[in-house]
Amino acid sequence: MSKPENDSLFEAPPIGEQERMVEAILFASADPVSVQDLIGRMPHGCDPAEAIAYLRKRYEGRGVNLVKIDNAWAIRTAPDLGFLMQKESVETRKLSRAAIETLAIIAYHQPVTRADIEEIRGVSVSRGTLDQLIELEWIRFGRRRMTPGRPVTFVVTATFLDHFGLESARDLPGLKDLRAAGLLENRPPPGVVDVPDEEDNADGNDDQTELFEE
């Protein structure tokens, strides 16, 4: 059996060793690390996903836990021990009621346009509100909606998920109930013709025309 010259000259390290590596990398970083990043940093042939599964089990019930955020992993202290951490906690800027509601609307209805937010809250969105949420890196611009005017949309970020300990936007509290109650539907006022989002129908040519008309 001939051995190639590159990394694969060496076998991937045993899974136990891979687990140690993932452990070291996740401990060293304050931000979530994606599986892709792990693959890039670990020796050739490693399977971080499997190592993560073991490691997650190992930290179950411990003082720190492995948590998943989007497609990335991080180690976070167990929430029940927060009372020990006053020393570590950073005073976060108090968000206004408008900002909190706007954030919730974006999270539960995303992607949403500014007009959607105003329709739901019944008031206009003040300049500073979106600005503040963008600055916190909790929301970002999503793709434009394919309706007249091509309005930009807003979506929540991985930083938002990390902050609220959510694995994905699907895990938002009460999401199912809201959906079941039909409260997340885009229901136009009676007598107004709903303009459907043509997103899926738009073919490549249209997209490009739109791109350059901007």
Binding site: F27, A28, S29, A30, D31, A74, I75, R76, T77, A78, P79, L81, G82, M85, E88, S89, V90, T92, R97, A98, I100, E101, L103, A104, I105, A107, Y108, I120, R121, G122, V123, I134, R140, F141, D162, H163, F164, G165, L166, L172, P173, G174, L175, L178, A181, G182, L183, R187, P189, P190, G191
Partner: protein, 265 residues
């Protein structure tokens, strides 16, 4: 909703009226008519899905009426909502006119009920969200992030915000862009000066300044004017430096220049 249609104004309890009036003091605290309607709806003490929109419309109209009596300035959107609710009220009370176009009173009322329920739903969701354990408050990230090895690979980064602001900066600068002259047809004094410094060395005697004009610049009037002005200004500059002398026989006579002998400097 049918059972509510026979409600007349006096069926709203006194305590509800008092409650509604108390709201007026706080009018500034509401985030618009929808917020106020949601607050008013609480006096009905029922599930939002069973709410009487007719009763709610009356409560709201009573609120606006009271505000007027107290000479409170209500923002325009409150008055728009009042007008709309008055219209809705009449639609709910009158039997439907089959000839009439547009959505029925029930449809409009149902949509308003939906809006209220949705706003309340989002408020509940917001409260649940904020009640969650939060990073940096209830659970924590690594305190010591390690960077043991100093491999100084420099990479550059920028955020979307940087990008957009950079672009905005350029585009808004366009709006204010100062008048820029067309360089092709303009000779600057610096250019003329440069040219004359080379030529002056060969000029021993008085020479008409116009002979210093560069070739090819006399055909187009715009270029001729520019180069004449530049050459004249450059001559003055050279005279100031003591490199040349200038003279003009009379008004509108040709201006002549000659090199100044080095010993005179």
């Amino acid at each position: 909703m049918q059972e509510n249609f026979d409600l007349s104004d006096d069926k709203i309890s006194v305590s509800d009226r008092v409650a509604a009036e108390a709201l007026i003091v706080d009018v500034g605290a509401f985030e618009g008519p929808l917020d106020l309607l949601l607050t008013l709806s609480r006096t009905q003490k029922v599930d939002l899905r069973q709410i009487s929109i007719l009763a709610l419309a009356r409560q709201y109209l009573a609120f606006v009426e009271k505000a007027k009596q107290l000479r409170l300035e209500l923002a325009a959107d409150y008055l728009v909502m009042a007008a709309w609710l008055a219209f809705l009220k009449s639609r709910l009370l009158l039997p439907p006119d089959p000839k009439e176009e547009g959505p029925s009173g029930e449809e409009l009322a149902a949509h308003l009920a939906f809006q209220l329920e949705r706003l309340q739903g989002m408020r509940n969701a917001a409260a649940k969200l904020m009640a969650r354990d939060q990073l940096g408050r209830d659970f924590f990230a690594r305190g010591i992030t390690e960077d043991v090895q100093r491999v100084r690979r420099v990479t550059y980064t920028a955020t979307l915000l940087d990008l957009m602001q950079g672009y905005a900066r350029i585009r808004t600068r366009d709006d204010f862009r100062p008048f820029v002259m067309d360089r092709q047809h303009v000779m600057t004094m610096e250019q003329a000066l440069e040219r004359m410094r080379h030529l002056i060395g060969f000029a021993g005697d008085w020479t008409d300044i116009s002979s210093y004009l560069p070739e090819g610049w006399d055909a187009d009037p715009q270029r001729r004017r520019s180069t004449t002005a530049a050459t004249f200004a450059a001559s003055l500059e050279l005279a100031k430096e003591g490199k040349i002398e200038l003279r003009q026989g009379e008004s509108f006579a040709p201006i002549e220049i000659r090199k100044r002998a080095p010993r005179d400097v």
